[in-house]
């Protein structure tokens, strides 16, 4: 039996080897992808363009603009004021400010800040002047970040000015800016961030990408290898050979396992070296569970191949399946925030459990004592999925007769 399995595996490995472009694409494509995505998303949301319309024109309002400008997040667009002044209607002005940028040399303005006349005077006497922030809601992540930073900085600056000017003691004992800010800082609650202390986005997207790499390789190689046989009509030959369906499946799984594993290791090294995301938990456990996960997804890949007649169809089905999988992996939105029914459904998608395992071992250093439910789910799903695939095989066997 082992001999027959190895024969099938050898045949598919030869296929892969003869199609070297595919092999290169599979192995290095994923690694490059991780690099670009990690790099792009790990970059802090910086240099968001803001336009400040200053109706006050005092030292205090100019001080505020200077203060906002010194943050890394915000960048002052001085031309924007002219655009604003050239319109009679404020809504039109905002529209013109927030559209018409291009993403590479001249990104859109994200925020408009309007400082009212009398701002400085009201702030000095503690009368709570009003500031208007208008945000570019078409770019929600950037505008949320801009709003958070602007509110925080305006608040800090306002406190310093207010406290300094309403201070009743002598000039020499008046608190300095640093003293006021330190006190402000001290009266904030403590916040501890665990597992990703810097709240670095790359520490989120890079492991996700690593999980997707293993996923997509498993499902695609399995689906294409089998769909290819079906498209070229060699599947029938496989079936009439004195080999049992389970042996075909295992034999075909081996090359995908090898490629998937090689890739996963490459990605792990890359994460450690380039993005400084070490494996905090047990590497052996991670690799063992990765192999188990690969088997589950391979089964799904074979299933896709069994319902499609050509490789093109397999690709289209995988596109649909992959988008749904990536959704339920909890990548863009945490699964806890999804509608209840979706949360329950998400358990049926192996990648959900794989993502929890990968993140748990990689970032939280947890072991099987905590991850056992995920392991059970994966085992259950693996048995069911591979069982269905086997049934498909048997059915096509009896149909041939």
């Amino acid at each position: 039996m082992i001999y027959r399995i190895l024969n099938i595996a050898w045949k598919d490995l030869l296929h892969l080897w003869h199609n070297r472009l595919l092999l290169i694409l599979v192995i290095f494509g994923a690694a490059t992808e991780l690099l670009i995505v990690g790099w792009a998303t790990g970059a802090p949301v910086d240099d968001l363009k803001m336009v400040v319309v200053d109706n006050d024109q005092t030292a205090i309002s100019e001080g505020l603009i200077e203060h906002l400008r010194q943050t890394d997040t915000l960048k002052l667009n001085e031309d924007g004021v002219d655009v604003f002044d050239n319109h009679d209607n404020e809504a039109d002005a905002v529209h013109d400010l927030f559209t018409g940028g291009n993403f590479i040399f001249n990104p859109d303005n994200i925020m408009l800040i309007e400082i009212p006349a009398g701002f400085g005077e009201q702030l000095k006497t503690g009368q709570q002047p009003a500031i208007e922030l208008t945000l570019n809601g078409a770019n929600s992540l950037a505008s949320t970040t801009a709003r958070r930073v602007a509110e925080e900085e305006i608040y800090k600056y306002g406190t310093v000015i207010m406290v300094q000017h309403t201070f009743s003691g002598t000039e020499s004992t008046a608190p300095t800016e640093i003293q006021i800010l330190t006190q402000l800082e001290q009266t904030q609650p403590d916040i501890t961030v665990k597992y990703n202390e810097e709240l670095d986005r790359a520490h989120y997207t890079a492991p996700s990408e690593a999980a997707f790499v293993l996923y997509i390789i498993a499902i695609m190689i399995a689906a294409f290898m089998l769909a290819r046989e079906r498209e070229y009509g060699t599947f029938e030959q496989l079936l009439v050979m004195p080999i049992r369906p389970i042996e075909i499946i295992i034999g075909k799984a081996i090359p995908a396992l090898l490629v998937g594993y090689a890739n996963f290791l490459l990605v792990l090294v890359e994460m450690n070296v380039v993005f400084d995301i070490p494996v905090r938990g047990s590497l052996v456990l991670l690799l063992a569970l990765a192999a188990g996960y690969l088997f589950v997804e391979l089964g799904r890949g074979f299933m896709v191949a069994m319902v499609s007649r050509t490789q093109n169809q397999a690709l289209l089905i995988i596109m649909l399946v992959a988008f749904v999988d990536i959704t339920f992996a909890g990548y863009a939105v945490p699964v806890e925030s999804m509608p209840r029914i979706m949360q329950l459904l998400s358990n049926l998608f192996p990648i959900r459990h794989w993502m929890i395992i990968l993140r748990g071992i990689l970032q939280k250093d947890v072991g099987l004592d905590i991850l056992w439910p995920q392991l059970l789910w994966l085992m259950g799903l693996g048995i069911i999925i591979n069982g269905i695939t086997l049934w498909f095989f048997r059915r096509s066997l009896t149909r041939q007769e």
Binding site: H95, L133, T192
Partner: protein, 397 residues
């Protein structure tokens, strides 16, 4: 180029597609299905972040704060623990993302005048622990928790400062300073243009339309490889039809299908998801056509460059699927990417596609505002077909 030739090839390709009902079904319905499924699941704003409370104070006031935290949409109090290992375990098991620790003496600090003095100079007696593995939802949860608790503390102190017994217990200037500290220096009003409630679905659906439209592009990336593997490529080339005409003809049915997709997705976006459309509809369809042509041009290029079906599929997957999700600006703003990555996104039509769709749906932009993206798509489409045609000749000879 002969129009009849293009038509003949288009008809042949059309027959290929239509004789394969599964493919036509997947191509025609696929993008709409993707839009529906994914938007429904992903466009949920971050809500119900599991929150665990470690309440050492055990007072009415702390229970009150917990109720207020639980009342927000973002947080969902799932459990109470009574020691540190309790919440550490919950964090590891992912049963908690946020932990709120209310220290002993919390209510004393907020209800007595001695407490008033301490809160003016030191931190309030509660703190937060957050699981940072998912920074975006962590930031949202933290912001909500900090805001609610800050408001709670301020309200509590405000009533305390104004009470008559405080007057006797405190010096007037002390009281004045506290009043000042409790009031925000500036009153900030925030408006969100284009998307007043910052609804995630308004943001996501237009972007998703562009991303889902890559399916025809991916599908076309195998057409030449298929002819080659079935040995019909020689026959095709031997006909007196020019190479460009062959490519145009092959792309034509896909353009039709993609335009059908655009119409269907537009209807779904408006009717099912209630996303406003503020641009010019005719311009929108014209630009969508251009976007589709650009993706098809790249698909064709892959199809000619890469000889085997598998490799072509894999390449188009790598080019269309992941960048579509991650680099298109759907989740992360392209504006802030490092310059090198921005340069790399120039060749991705999906970036322009997302901008055009968002601009047309939410911002009501005109052609003038989008000139840069239109130019980019035009270059990709024209150059893509041009290079594909030239390479096609060479490869055959």
């Amino acid at each position: 180029m002969n129009q009849r030739h293009i038509y003949a090839i288009a008809k042949k390709e059309w027959l290929h597609i239509i004789r394969d009902p599964m493919t036509i079904f997947l191509l025609a319905i696929g993008p709409v299905l993707m839009l529906l499924l994914i938007s429904y699941a992903m466009a949920t704003d971050i809500t119900d972040v599991p929150t665990v409370i470690y309440d050492q104070d055990q007072s009415d006031l702390s229970a009150n704060l917990v109720t207020q935290l639980d009342a927000s949409d973002v947080l969902n109090v799932t459990d109470h623990v009574n020691n540190t290992t309790g919440y550490e375990d919950q964090l590891e098991q992912r049963k908690a993302r946020l932990v709120v620790i209310i220290e002993d003496g919390f209510s004393d600090q907020l209800t007595t005048t001695q407490g008033l003095e301490s809160i003016a100079t030191s931190a309030p007696r509660f703190s937060f622990v957050i699981d940072g593995t998912d920074p975006l939802s962590a930031e949202t949860a933290l912001e909500t928790a900090v805001n609610i608790s800050g408001q709670f503390v301020r309200n509590q102190l405000n009533t305390l400062v104004e009470q008559p017994q405080t007057e006797t217990a405190m010096l007037p200037e002390q009281r004045q300073r506290l009043r000042q500290q409790l009031r925000a220096p500036v009153d900030i009003h925030t408006t969100n243009r284009f998307n007043p409630d910052l609804k995630a679905i308004w943001d996501l659906v237009p972007a998703m339309i562009a991303v889902a439209l890559v399916l025809p592009g991916m599908s076309i990336s195998t057409v030449i490889a298929r002819e080659r593997s079935q040995g019909t490529l020689e026959t095709l080339v031997a006909t007196p039809i020019s190479k460009h005409a062959i490519l145009m003809g092959k792309a034509f049915p896909y353009v039709l299908i993609a335009l059908l997709n655009v119409v269907l997705m537009y209807i779904v976006a408006r009717a099912v998801f209630g996303v406003p459309f503020r641009g010019n509809l005719l311009v929108y369809f014209a630009l969508s056509g251009l976007y589709v042509l650009a993706t098809l041009a790249i698909g064709l290029l892959f199809s000619i460059l890469i000889k085997s079906i598998e490799a072509a599929l894999w390449a188009s997957m790598m080019f269309f699927l992941f960048p579509g999700m991650l680099l298109s600006g759907m989740f992360f703003p392209v504006d802030v990417f490092p310059f090198i990555v921005k340069l790399e996104t120039l060749e991705l039509p999906v970036v322009s596609g997302v901008l055009i769709n968002r601009g047309m749906f939410l911002q009501g932009v005109s052609v003038k505002d989008l000139w840069w993206n239109i130019l980019l798509l035009l270059i990709i489409a024209v150059e893509g077909f041009e290079i594909a045609g030239r390479l096609f000749k060479k490869r055959i000879a």
